[in-house]
Every structure is written in structure tokens, then in C-alpha cells.
């Protein structure tokens, strides 16, 4: 009995701890107009879930719209679809789904709920065997101009004084390729601006063939660092963790990808991000305020520097006075703003795709140099 009592006491404590966390806004009657479905991770994953949820919260709180996120009961296509069902039942008018995992579920849901608007980030709806790609009028498929993001990263690295760069992509899929090509072009342009000699910047270019954190990837990164590479652009999901581990052992630097990864490791100097928050905010604004849903509806929209859809992080989360550029030696916010403006006005327009002979998309050094017109930069593919 004593033990039971002690346990009850413990439960009471836990209860009081959570007492403040309630979401007191409205009951079921009101519903939740903007819904976000998390993918496999949690809402605070410092990645897609969190980035897009921040966009939802920012817009919804400004405009006093009810909003809520749902966790699928099961990480499967059917589970995601069921979560969408639940969100719609909960009164959702707009459903935000972060990540390519939602491509198949949204393909189903767009027909099932014609009156609900879906914002699918980083993906385009298709059926399960890829035979049909269709984006209906109630769906906005949002993609990102990765080449611009990669361009900024490469530019920043060379401007910061580094001449031995590395690139570790996951697999040669379009998004990863675009990041890589942009990276090389950014390095080239920075070298030109700095007036460096031809071939003075060298890049080791590598696809790991997977998106995993594993020992092979870590060993590869380590070897690259040992060969003198100063910074590696880790562009492949969990590959980044392997690279960060190698970097912290070698005392070298990493450039993160997709979201601001500075919080994952001290070695991350910057990240080639996708503007999840900005893009979600803009689409929601188009729906609710500017009545421009048709700009996004039924098609894939690329977010680029022009609409703040890509970039390097300029803010430190949780620290309004923080300097997001503090891990660079020389590169400054002013230089960043200048090059960003050029991307916005179109005076700089990195190439997204080049012709590759290999069906899997693995480029040779020659293809890269020729296709991207590189002079200052030499490329070694491994």
C-alpha cells in the first residue's frame, strides 16, 4: 500500500508538470483549420516537421487561425492517409504535409477530399507504382531550387578562404545533384571574385550511394579530411551525422543541408537550407490573404531565393541577437546579402541540371567541369 501511495504521488507530480502544457484553444466544435501531419519524427525534429510547423504557427498566430499537428498512428502510406482523415474530421481546411513520404497518401487524399487544400512540401503526388503523376487543383506541390541553396554554400565556403572543398551526396537523385552542381558553381564564382588562379580551388565530389549514418560514410569523410579537405558539404540525410562525427575528430568543418544543422554539431559552419517556414507561410498567405491560391494550385512550384525559398540561415533559433555567421572566419552577413540579392534579381542563375551519361546520374569529373563551365575549380570524383 505504501508503495502504491508513493507511486500515486509520483503520478500527481507528473500531472502538475504537464498542467501548463494544455492547448486551451477551443474544443472540437471549432475544429482546427490548418493541420500539419508529422512524418515519422516528432514535431521538434529540427528538420522538416519543425521547419514547416514553424511556418504554420507563424502565419496562424498572426491571423488568429486555429491550427494543430497530428501524429500518424503508423508510419505507412495508409497510416499517413488515416492521419489526414483524422485531420479533416478535426475540421482541417488546409493540410500541410512535410516530405516526400506523403506523395502517395496525398495522391489518394486529393481525390477523397476535394474541398481541402493540401500543401505537399518537397514532393509531388503520384500513385504507388509511379505510373501516374497528378497534382489536382486542391494540391500545391512545393519544391525547392536546391542549386541556389548549394550555390550559396559553395560561394560562402570559398569566400571564407577555403580552397579545398568536399561534397558528399547521398544518391544521385535530382535534389542531391542540384545541391552539388550549385555548390560547384558557387565556389567557381567566389574564386573568380577573389581573383584566384585557375584550378586553385579543388573539390572532391562523392555520392555515398545511401542516406545512412554508417561507418563507411564516416571513413570516407575521414579520408577526405585527411587528404586536406577543409569542409565537406554533407548532402544526404543521415550521411550528415557520419560526416559531422568525422569532422569533429579531424577538427574540420561541415556544411549542413535542408535545415539549419548548426544545432547538431559545432562543426557545422552553415547549412544550405530549404525555406520550409517561408514557403509554408507564403502559400498560407496566398490562401487566406492575397487570394492567390491559383498561383500554386495543381502544379509544382519551385521556391528559390526570389521568394525566400532557399538560403543560408540568417537567424539563430531562440537567440534574436545571435549571429548565424559566427562560425565563418571572414564571410559576413553583408557579403551574403549581396550574393543573395543577385540570385533574387536573376543576375546569377545557377544551372540545375546537366547532361550525364550514366543512367543513375553519377557524373564524371569531366562532365561536371564542362557542364558547369568550371575554370577556377578542379573536380575529383571518388
Amino acid at each position: 500500500m505504501k508503495r502504491l501511495f508513493a507511486f500515486l504521488l509520483a503520478v500527481m507530480l507528473v500531472c502538475t508538470m504537464f498542467a501548463g502544457c494544455g492547448n486551451a484553444k477551443g474544443g472540437k466544435g471549432d475544429g482546427y483549420e490548418i493541420a500539419l501531419i508529422t512524418d515519422k519524427g516528432n514535431i521538434d525534429d529540427k528538420s522538416f516537421n519543425q521547419g514547416s510547423w514553424e511556418g504554420v504557427v507563424a502565419f496562424a498566430e498572426e491571423n488568429k487561425i486555429t491550427h494543430k499537428y497530428y501524429k500518424p498512428e503508423e508510419a505507412s502510406d495508409a497510416g499517413y492517409l488515416a492521419a489526414i482523415d483524422l485531420a479533416v474530421e478535426g475540421g482541417a481546411k488546409v493540410v500541410v504535409t512535410p516530405g516526400f513520404l506523403f506523395e502517395v497518401p496525398i495522391f489518394e487524399a486529393q481525390t477523397r477530399y476535394p474541398d481541402v487544400k493540401f500543401i505537399l512540401l518537397d514532393g509531388a503526388p503520384h500513385n504507388s507504382d509511379y505510373s501516374v503523376f497528378e497534382t489536382k487543383e486542391n494540391v500545391a506541390s512545393i519544391m525547392y531550387s536546391e542549386e541556389e541553396s548549394g550555390y550559396l554554400a559553395g560561394y560562402a565556403a570559398v569566400k571564407d578562404g577555403m580552397t579545398k572543398l568536399g561534397f558528399m551526396g547521398g544518391m544521385a537523385v535530382p535534389a542531391v545533384r542540384a545541391f552539388g552542381y550549385g555548390y560547384l558553381q558557387g565556389a567557381e564564382d567566389a574564386a573568380k571574385e577573389l581573383g584566384l588562379a585557375d584550378g586553385s580551388v579543388s573539390v572532391i565530389y562523392h555520392y555515398t550511394g545511401n542516406f545512412e549514418e554508417n561507418d563507411t560514410n564516416k571513413a570516407t569523410a575521414k579520408t577526405m579530411y585527411q587528404q586536406g579537405t577543409e569542409v565537406i558539404f554533407a548532402c544526404g540525410g543521415a550521411v550528415g551525422k557520419s560526416v559531422m562525427a568525422a569532422a569533429s575528430e579531424a577538427g574540420k568543418k561541415v556544411i549542413g543541408v535542408d535545415v539549419d544543422q548548426r544545432y547538431d554539431s559545432e562543426t557545422v559552419i552553415t547549412s544550405a537550407t530549404k525555406g520550409l517556414k517561408a514557403s509554408v507561410y507564403q502559400v498560407l498567405e496566398a490562401i487566406y490573404k492575397t487570394n492567390k491560391w491559383s498561383d500554386y494550385a495543381g502544379k509544382t512550384t519551385y521556391f528559390s531565393a526570389a521568394n525566400n525559398g532557399v538560403g543560408l540561415p540568417t537567424e539563430v533559433i531562440g537567440d534574436p541577437n545571435g549571429n548565424a555567421f559566427d562560425r565563418f572566419d571572414k564571410f559576413t552577413k553583408e557579403e551574403y546579402d549581396a550574393i543573395f540579392a543577385k540570385l533574387v534579381d536573376g543576375s546569377v542563375d545557377p544551372i540545375r541540371e546537366i547532361d550525364i551519361a550514366d543512367p543513375d546520374g553519377n557524373a564524371t569529373a569531366e562532365e561536371l567541369v564542362n557542364g558547369l563551365k568550371l575554370q577556377k575549380v578542379t573536380v575529383t570524383v571518388r
Binding site: 498542467a19 492547448n23 502510406d77
Partner: protein, 437 residues
Amino acid sequence: MHNNTTYSPKAFDIKKITSTKSFSAFTAALLAIFLGIVFGFIVMFAASPANAASGFLMLLSGGFRRLGDVFYFATPILMTGLAVGFAFKMGLFNIGASGQYTMGMYFALYVGFMWDMPDSIHWVACVIAGMIGGMLWGFIPGIFKALLNVNEVITSIMFNYIGMYLVDMLIQGNGTMYVATKTRTAYLPASAQIPSLGIKNSNVNVSIYIAIVLAIILQIVLRKTIFGYELQATGYNRHASTYAGMNGKKNIIVTMMIAGAAAGLGGAFAILAPSTIAGSSMTYEPINIIAANGFNGIAVALLGNSSPIGIIFSAIFISHIQRGGTLASLYGYKPEIIDIVIAVIIYFSAFSMLMNAALARFIKKRRKHESDNPDANRESTSDAEVNTVSGPDSEVSTPDSDVITPDSEATTPDSDVSTPVSDASGDSVQNDTKEGE
């Protein structure tokens, strides 16, 4: 012979009902659930007082709106619950249900992707393969326990990790099964998926029937066969089973194989489930995480008092609460709060052992008050007395042999030595006698 008193009809009735084990186990489970629900409500109330009532009602009743899903999600935990509970009947703590579950998934996936078979039997072959995978992963800890006396908890925990990493590695190394760009397995061919029951928006499939039938079979094995008799005898009293000449080693291995097979089937049922989306299926993502359903099986087994029939109900109950919980999130509760509420309810439910002992003590106390018999009075205090007497010496224990055998009225609670609760039951007395020798 002081115990052969005749009972008044009323006392006899109470005794007869309350002393049946299944009754006290059932009441204990209900009591545990009730307490869990009360505390779950407190958590919800603390989180958002305004919505607590309606939200909580939804949590409790929501499952009825989604019966298909209730049964769908109950299937794997029913099987892992059986894996834990069945081994528990023999006194083995099969904490390795997760590893067996993962192996079951892998074997099922392998047959699903790599073997080309006629549609009608392909899924059956996958299910059987899953069973074999789990059986293998139960067999190894069983062998270690039986032949080398390595504690099955240690082995099976290790085999959780070995199984998980092995499966992740095997899947990542298999180009047919694994889609590297999506970091998960490809969609299974439709022929490998278990036939759906066709309930709208639910993946519920025939595996729930198979699971229930298997639970009933295991119940029959336990209750009606020589093997079940030996198994439970060993679980209750290892020494006595040795004394009676039972082959403990063989029984340990067979029990662990059956337990592993059940968990493996759970994995197969989970991964082979059909999808509500045409052409889609479940996928396995190798991300180095131990399958949670294996551990959920422990809660299911505890709540079901390790009885296969009880496990059917406890699995459905837990699934029901979870489905209702998901719906309750419509009332403004963050998914995390709902997770806490569900965890509190399940956690409490696992305390049914404690409730069982408390209940027995309560009934005993009541009867003590009713009884005028000083004899009974004296002896019912004996338990408490003896507990303090875990002395090192030989002579005190001699009176114990008298003490252990109180009146025939004593409703002694469950005998599982592993729970701290059993301090109050007769087991500790046994220890005393042992020490005294």
C-alpha cells in the same frame, strides 16, 4: 487437523468465487484499468480542464467508432503478448519478443520479395516464414538457458539488438527489397499481403482471426495437454517439477520456440498487412530502432495475466484505448499528452499483479473481521509476522513449517515470485524454510 471446519453457505460461496484464480486475476485487471483511467483523466484534466470530460469520453469510447483499426492494431501486440505471456507461464521472462518480432518481419519480407509464388499461397508462405524466423530467435535463448543456464533475460535482450542490426543490415544489402533513395523497403507485391477484411479505411485483415485462434490453441495447450501441465508446473515450482522427473531442458527450449514463433508471427502480421491505398504496403525502415511492439507485448501479457484468453482481451483493450486516444486529440490535446495518458493507463494496468495482492489482502481482512474464530485470527496475521522473520538461523524456521499452512480459508494471491508484491504471499515463507536447512 484443525482445518476441517464446515462453512456456512454464505462464506462458502464467497470463498468459492473469490478463490478461483481467474476471478481474482480478472478483478485485479479491472481494478488496475480503473485506476489507470482515473489517473489518465487527471493528466488530461491538468493539461486542459475545459476539454477533459469530452476528450476523455472520446478516449474511452472512440475505439468503438474505429473497430476495424482497433482489431488491426491489436493483432501484433496480441501476438507479442502471447510470446511474453506463454513463456511467463513457465517462469521464463521473454524480453526478446522485439527481436523475434523483427526476425519474423524479415523472414516474411524475404519470402514476400524474393520468392515467386501463386497468389493464393504466397502470403501464407510469408506468414509461415515469419513464424520460423521468430521461432529461430526464440530457440537460441532457449538453448542457452536450457543447456548453459544463461539467464534468458540477458540472452534475449542481446538478441533484440543482434536481430535488429542483422535485419537492418540484410535489408540494406538487398537491392530487391531496399529502396535506397527512400531509405526503406519497396512496396510488397499484393500477393504477399494478407487478405483484407474489407472494412472501409482500415487495414484490418484476416490475421486477427489467426491470432485469436492461435491464442485459443495456446490456451488449450496450457490447460488440456501434458506439455501445458509440465510447463506450468515448472513455472510455478521448478524444484517440484524436477522432483517429478520432468524434462526441464526440453520444455524450456520448446516453450521459447513457441514464444518466438508467436512474436515472429506478430512481426509477419504487421509487415504483411494490406494497405488501404492500392499498390502500397507496409514498409520496413532500417533505422536501428528496436521494435516497440515487442515491449508492448509485456504490458499486454501482464494485463492479461499471461493467460492466452486474457491476452486477447488485453491486446484489444490497449489497442482500443490507443485508437480512442488518437481521436481524443481532436479535442485539442497534443499527441504527446495523449501518449502520456495512454502510457499511464497501460502502466497502471500492468500493476494488476499489485492489485491482485491488495485485493486478496482486502478480502482476507474482511473475512477476518467476519470471523469470530480466534484461531483464524491468529493465523491470518501470520503472513505479516513471518515476513519479518527472514533470519539467518535454523531454528526459527522450524515453526514456519507450521505457519505456512494457515487455515484453509486463506485465499492466497497469485504466486509469481518475480513481482515484489509476492512478499505478502506464502512464497517468502518457502524461502525461510530453505534458508533454515
